[in-house]
């Protein structure tokens, strides 16, 4: 058995939340530069210029890219041959430490009293047990301007792929300027109510714009992106072509009576940091 020390998890998670909030991933940077050229609207082009300048300043001045430094969503892949003690506690300690030290905004509150927990914990932790001797932790600070625009629908199978596409477009259209477009659209298709929501979130952890390895899913992603980018919402909703940077779809077999579809929206600040132990 390979042992991973909890102190190491605390330290690396703390550093990862801070970096995720302050350093725009290279891939997102490149996607912005490409989109700036492709966007026909002058104000839309200006938005990309400002977002690139913002990312540069954030890194230079050690400031968060966005003041909504999110609720910490953490995906864990735990290898069967890894021994670790107090994993959830270590992750939460790391999150609390990173938000404090990095001067990130603490945005987690009790849903009934609205009292801020003061530490940005608890994190939302998703755990998968996988073969092997690696521990992988994906740190995904999720802003709620975009999270709030997400939706789930239990479609009848008769709605088919057309119904799925209509629903995804409806969610994006209703969201309009609210989730800080250009967005990434995470779609969870199939499974059950909660599985679809999980898949939609998981889809957003894929490198931005990387197509799904399965051809029929990659085609659906491409078609959805093209259709979304005719809605006219554009960068920050000021009108234009680039409403979405990418559509990521994940699927899972579902019940013969069911067609769950979940749409999870990510704002342009696609912040993410992946750790491996």
């Amino acid at each position: 058995m390979k042992q991973v020390r909890t102190e190491e998890i605390v330290a690396k998670v703390a550093q990862a939340v801070e970096e995720a909030c302050k350093i725009l991933p290279n891939r997102v940077w490149e996607v912005f530069q490409k989109a700036q050229k492709e966007e026909p609207s002058p104000l839309g082009k200006k938005v990309f210029d400002i977002l690139l300048e913002n990312a540069r300043l954030a890194q230079e001045e050690n400031l968060p890219i966005c003041q909504d430094t999110g609720i910490a969503v953490i995906f864990v892949e735990l290898g069967e041959e890894v021994k670790v003690k107090g994993l959830y506690e270590a992750i939460n300690q790391g999150v609390a430490k990173g938000y404090e030290k990095g001067l990130l905004r603490k945005s987690v509150a009790d849903p009934i009293t609205r009292q801020n927990t003061g530490t940005n914990t608890p994190a939302v932790i998703h755990l998968e047990i996988v073969p092997g001797d690696k521990l992988k932790i994906t740190v995904f600070p999720k802003g709620c301007g975009s999270e709030n625009m997400s939706a789930l629908k239990m479609l009848p199978p008769s709605a088919g792929l057309l119904g799925v596409k209509e629903f995804v477009k409806e969610v994006v259209k209703n969201a309009g300027p609210n989730p800080c477009p250009p967005i990434t659209v995470g779609v969870g298709l199939g499974g059950t109510f909660e599985k679809a929501a999980y898949l939609a979130k998981k889809a957003l952890t894929r490198p931005l714009g990387e197509p799904h390895p399965e051809k029929k899913i990659a085609e659906l992603e491409k078609e959805l992106l093209a259709e979304i980018n005719t809605l006219g919402i554009g960068p920050l909703g000021f009108g234009g072509k680039i409403t979405a940077l990418a559509v990521h779809v994940e699927t899972f077999p579902t019940h013969i009576a069911s067609l769950p579809v979940a749409v999870n929206i990510q704002c342009h600040a696609a912040r993410i940091k992946k750790l491996e132990f």
């Binding site: 300043l57 968060p64 001067l103 905004r105 600040a269």
Partner: protein
């Protein structure tokens, strides 16, 4: 009418300045803004309901929907971009009635807010969502006014210089989000056929 670049300073002494602003105009704001978001609005409305004095006069003010990150040493404020405005819709008409003449955030407003804007001759502005580091450079001074116990939701006065924004809802009932989306949807539909 083509969009124009204009300058404006808050709080406004003469609200007639707003007549010159049109949906789609790019503006630069100087003077002071009041920073307030969800819980701050709830608290202000509680004071109004109890007929207690407000911590600051709202006459001619522009409320900026923001919950900044903590200020690093040597800086007045951390990252300070706009939050989504519709969450303040329930509170906005009451504050417009108190003399607020502009609000600024990101995203659409409700029909009720749009009607209240027309009634009270106020405008709605959007600034650059997710550009918190960029916008923080336009904020020169920060003064806490009330509700400091709310942390990132405290009521603050922000002294700003050339803070950029786009006019969304003007005094003439126009909505830049709706107009521009419609215009671009038509252009893009033309490209496809």
């Amino acid at each position: 009418m083509r969009a124009m670049e204009k300058k404006i300073s808050f709080p406004l002494k003469d609200k007639r300045v707003l007549e010159e602003l049109h949906a789609g105009d790019f503006i630069f704001i100087s003077g002071t803004l009041l920073a307030a978001r969800d819980q701050t609005h709830r608290k202000l409305l509680e004071l109004l309901e109890k007929e207690r004095p407000l911590p600051v006069s709202l006459s001619g003010q522009c409320i900026y929907y923001v919950g900044p990150t903590p200020a690093p040493p040597g800086k007045p404020i951390g990252s300070a971009g706009p939050t989504t405005s519709y969450r303040m819709d329930a509170y906005t008409p009451a504050l417009l009635a108190q003399g607020v003449c502009a609000t600024m955030g990101k995203g659409k407003r409700s029909q009720t807010v749009k009607e209240a804007l027309l009634k009270h001759k106020a405008i709605y502005l959007a600034t650059f969502g997710g550009a918190g580091a960029y916008l923080s450079r336009c904020i020169k001074e920060v003064r806490p006014l009330a509700f400091e116990e709310l942390g990132p939701e405290a009521l603050l006065e922000l002294k700003v210089e050339d803070f950029p924004a786009v006019v969304i809802n003007d005094l003439y009932g126009r909505d830049f989000y709706e107009e521009s989306q419609e215009e671009w949807a038509k252009i893009l539909a033309g490209e496809r056929t």
